[in-house]
């Protein structure tokens, strides 16, 4: 049972503020992903939870216990590092057993746990090897097995897959999800890869400039981004934005067409995801001129000009389109979102 509570945690390095007063609750057994571009403070937050960094302000609670003044070893956590941090002078077996030996666990129990975790990560045949004799993927497995062997209340992962090649990353991703679901620990996972975040998370916290911008389940984050930053960061290709001009109460003019929108006095932008557009009869929807066509197999990505702005649409790969063609793109009305021009926040 380990719920994690972050209360007003802030961190500055000299004049640079890495985290601005972050509040967050992660429930027991939840898989939380901290997502953001590099330098957004996600790793700093993870390291503060681990006890490798001291917060400038705020409190960290794990399982109802305040831990921000405790060293890492007294927090009931285990961590998987970006560069694996497998000890080069120890065998795989001794690496996995390292934390257990520190707890002075009886040899029989050490044996049992190491073998169980090695089996879980499919590295039983590597137990006698040294890390220099392992591939990157195998080292990653050792690092995860070492963390799991601790049977921690919380497992923390700092971009654990970012050093693996694409195919291996895909394989490890689904494996990791299965193993962690089975281990029933609370997990916090830091990544800059939105696909990884979407596929692993129970909940995603999108971070930007030391703030948490949105914290919600993956589909919610994707469908209803709380801010323009989230809309542009999540989704590949990202959401399209067009300027909207207010023409009446709840009526807007977007790229020459009339659209119903929220009744507000702030200046707002119109936003739609590329896959939420369909080809329409001429005269209906947004008038677009194709500039680039990228067939991707399952569908075709077209980059067009709409009202002078760059605009992307995902269309059926059977549609025969060429650069220079004129299209009419009809947005799915319930998928249209609006964002405040100044604050970037979502407007309902």
């Amino acid at each position: 049972m380990a719920e994690i509570q972050i209360k007003g945690v802030a961190k500055s390095f000299g004049a640079f503020t890495a985290l601005h007063s972050v509040d967050m609750t992660i429930s027991d057994r939840e898989f939380m992903v901290l997502l953001g571009a590099s330098g957004c403070g996600k790793t700093t937050l993870l390291r503060i939870i681990a006890g490798l960094e001291t917060p400038t302000k705020g409190e960290v609670w794990i399982g109802g216990r305040r831990v921000d003044h405790l060293p890492p070893k007294e927090r009931g956590i285990a961590m998987v590092f970006q560069n694996y941090a497998v000890f080069p002078h120890l065998t795989v077996f001794e690496n996995i057993a390292f934390g257990l030996r520190m707890q002075k666990m009886p040899q029989a129990e050490v044996q049992r746990r190491v073998h169980r975790c090695a089996e879980l990560m499919h590295i039983e045949q590597l137990l006698k090897r040294y890390s220099g004799q392992l591939s990157g993927g195998q080292r990653q497995r050792v690092a995860v097995a070492r963390a799991l062997a601790m049977e921690p209340e919380v497992i923390l992962m700092d971009e654990p897959l970012s050093n693996l090649d694409a195919l291996l990353r895909l394989e490890m991703r689904s494996e990791l999800k299965g193993v962690l679901a089975e281990s029933k620990t609370t997990a916090i996972y830091v990544t800059h890869d939105q696909v990884e975040a979407m596929s692993l998370a129970d909940r995603i916290s999108v971070m930007n400039g030391g703030h948490i911008v949105q914290s919600a389940d993956p589909v919610e984050v994707y469908r209803n981004p709380a801010a323009r930053f989230v809309a542009g960061f999540i989704g590949n290709p990202p959401m399209n934005f067009l300027p909207a001009e207010k023409v009446g109460s709840g009526r807007y003019r977007v790229a020459g067409t009339d659209v119903a929108g929220p009744d507000t006095d702030t200046r707002i932008d119109y936003a739609i995801r590329p896959e939420d557009l369909t080809l329409a009869e001429p005269g209906q929807g947004l008038a677009a001129t194709i500039r680039v066509v990228e067939p991707l197999g399952a569908h075709t990505l077209v980059t067009c000009d709409v009202d002078g702005a760059s605009f992307r649409a995902v269309i059926d790969s059977d549609s025969r389109v060429n650069p220079g063609d004129r299209l009419s793109l009809a947005p799915m009305a319930d998928r249209v979102r609006w964002f405040d021009k100044e604050t970037g926040l979502s407007v309902q």
Binding site: L52, P71, P72, K73, M79, F98, G99, M102
Partner: protein
Amino acid sequence: MSDTATVAPSVRKAGRWVFVSGIVLLCVWTLLPIYLLMVNALSTPEEVNGFPKSFIPSFDLSSLRFFLEFEGVLNALWNSIRVAVVTMILSIGFGAPAGYALSRFDFPGKEVFRFLVVMTRAFPLPLLALPLAVMFLRVGLDDSVLGLALVHTTLALPFAVLITYSLFSGIPFELEEAAFTLGCTRFQAFRKVVLPLAAPGIAASAVFAFVISWNEVFAAAVLTIKNRTLTAFLMQSLDWSPLHLKFAGAAALVLPALIFIFAVRKYLFAMWGIANR
């Protein structure tokens, strides 16, 4: 175009010739004295003092035996070893923690500190040795193993700091952090993770400190009278000792130093390659 095409090979050939002759020259420069030393150390006293000289040693150990049986030599040898061992312990005892601090922590004045470590090499030893001799007389450290070892430590310490600094910098801090999360205190992480990884390099650094002390002659000659080290003993006896004693003594000094330096060369290169980043 045709010009460069015809000129290039001859230029390249000339460059190659300069390169090879440079290497040969360097090898002769370093190896020839050592070779001559060994030839004479391994010849009989008669051969050493006679003429013409041979370039092939007769592999006779009587010169070396004469050297070892010479009055005061064994005592001086024993002093050399004791001073060098104390120097080694002091250099690593102070140098390794300093190297660790330099590689792991950011503190105000870190760059200045690094610079000062190297700066200690800028003072000529005579400048230090004479005031030190006076001071040692006052506090009773004169003519003692510890007194000389302290001076040798000031010579060896900068290298110990630089070598261990580069050594610890080569061990990712992430490994220590992993140890923290697995239940180690800072000290335990150092002992269980950093030390085993750094041990060969620390040993190399210790050997280097040993060699610096072993070869040092000036401070040894100034600061000791009765308890001379081998270098000081040999220098003192330069005027009146027979030629074969000098050669055998020189060989006894050079050989351990050569072997040690050769054994730890990898770490010495690392000192210049990484520590001066």
